[in-house]
Symmetry: C2
Subunit: 215 residues, 2 copies
């Protein structure tokens, strides 16, 4: 299942979080016809020290050659592979409210391998409708439908007070990763991956930063 991975060790989170920066840069210079790149050049563009870049790349089994640098094509291939953006991942949205609909509307996610196959909501008025091509079902239909949908990823966009129970329900029906957009810290079994996208924490950082600078 995992034979395309270049490394057996799990990548540390800080490295994983830098890879999309590298990939965005590599795709840009690749489109410009650049064939090789040094960590020094990458460092200037990305504001990450060369030693860190070299270390991150070595974790993908990438090695630079003296005076030539790294192959742009090799970096691109390894990163796309490790990041998993070229594979197809099936996801369900839990909570077809404003944020849930915003994500259904964002077809950029599809380009990054995230295929939203259905949305679930507790509002009976939404059941049977669809939004931006995604069918919306009543949450009670999850057990029956998930047998066929067989989605791995649950995107949690329910109101705060329903976060915990909805996550538990999703996990009990085969969801193995929760993408949590609610401002709640979830406790999940260890086999479940949780990624928090804390939009509100980001907003708080912005508001605080602006205020600090204004003093």
């Amino acid at each position: 299942m995992n034979q395309h991975r270049h490394t057996q060790q799990p990548l540390p989170e800080p490295t994983l979080r830098r890879l999309p920066w590298y990939l965005a840069y590599i795709e840009r210079i690749s489109a410009q016809g650049v064939k090789h790149v040094s960590t020094t050049t990458m460092s200037q563009a990305l504001n990450v020290v060369p030693a860190q870049i070299a270390k991150d790349l070595s974790m993908l089994n990438l090695r630079g050659r003296t005076r030539i640098g790294y192959s742009v094509e090799a970096i691109k291939h390894a990163m796309t592979d490790v990041l998993g953006f070229h594979r197809h991942h099936r996801a369900l949205i839990f909570g077809a409210g404003s944020l849930g609909k915003a994500l259904m509307q964002d077809d950029g996610l599809e380009r990054y391998g995230l295929h939203i196959v259905a949305a679930f909501d507790s509002d009976t008025k939404l059941a049977g409708t669809s939004f931006a091509g995604t069918p919306i079902f009543h949450i009670d239909q999850l057990p029956e439908l998930q047998r066929e949908l067989a989605a791995d990823i649950g995107i949690l966009t329910v109101p705060v007070q329903h976060s915990k129970q909805t996550a538990e329900l999703a996990i009990s029906h085969g969801i193995r990763a929760i993408w949590n957009f609610t401002p709640v810290k979830l406790k999940c079994p260890s086999h479940v991956v949780v990624a928090d996208t804390s939009i509100y924490a980001d907003l708080a950082l912005i508001y605080n930063g602006i205020t600090e600078n204004a003093i």
Copy 2:
């Protein structure tokens, strides 16, 4: 300008990132009529150790009383104030594509004090239209319109190759905080706040986590 802040010191980012968890919990128990809460009780609900909670709360000048705990009302007030969610913040969207429109569509942001007053795009066909109530203008109109709009926050949802120049343009016209949704690491002047919401990094973490667990 900053007289409502309970502390003179800037809050460390890890503390700021935990505050929305606390606030979500506090709002829930407050709605249930709970008047006082201990760090032990909070700890069980939030999976953060009591000492850490006490330390975070002390940074907001909140003190618990022996055998009574913290006032739920006082925590709620201090957090809402520090997080800045009750104030009104004016923001512009740069890039009225799929993700930009998704954010215009999400009226949850408004509830957290983020008022998106306009969107800008380089596509002349979009100029003069609007989406979900937000007017869209051509990017060339920014200098003229920003004089009146006077927005502080720029939400960056342009394609990768335009991130850098768009951020620079926004900053040169008075934007003091960039909410960066592009997978690019921005170099900005020190007076500018940058918050990265790395949707693609979160996806990579999820994909990797699922693969690791499947081995």
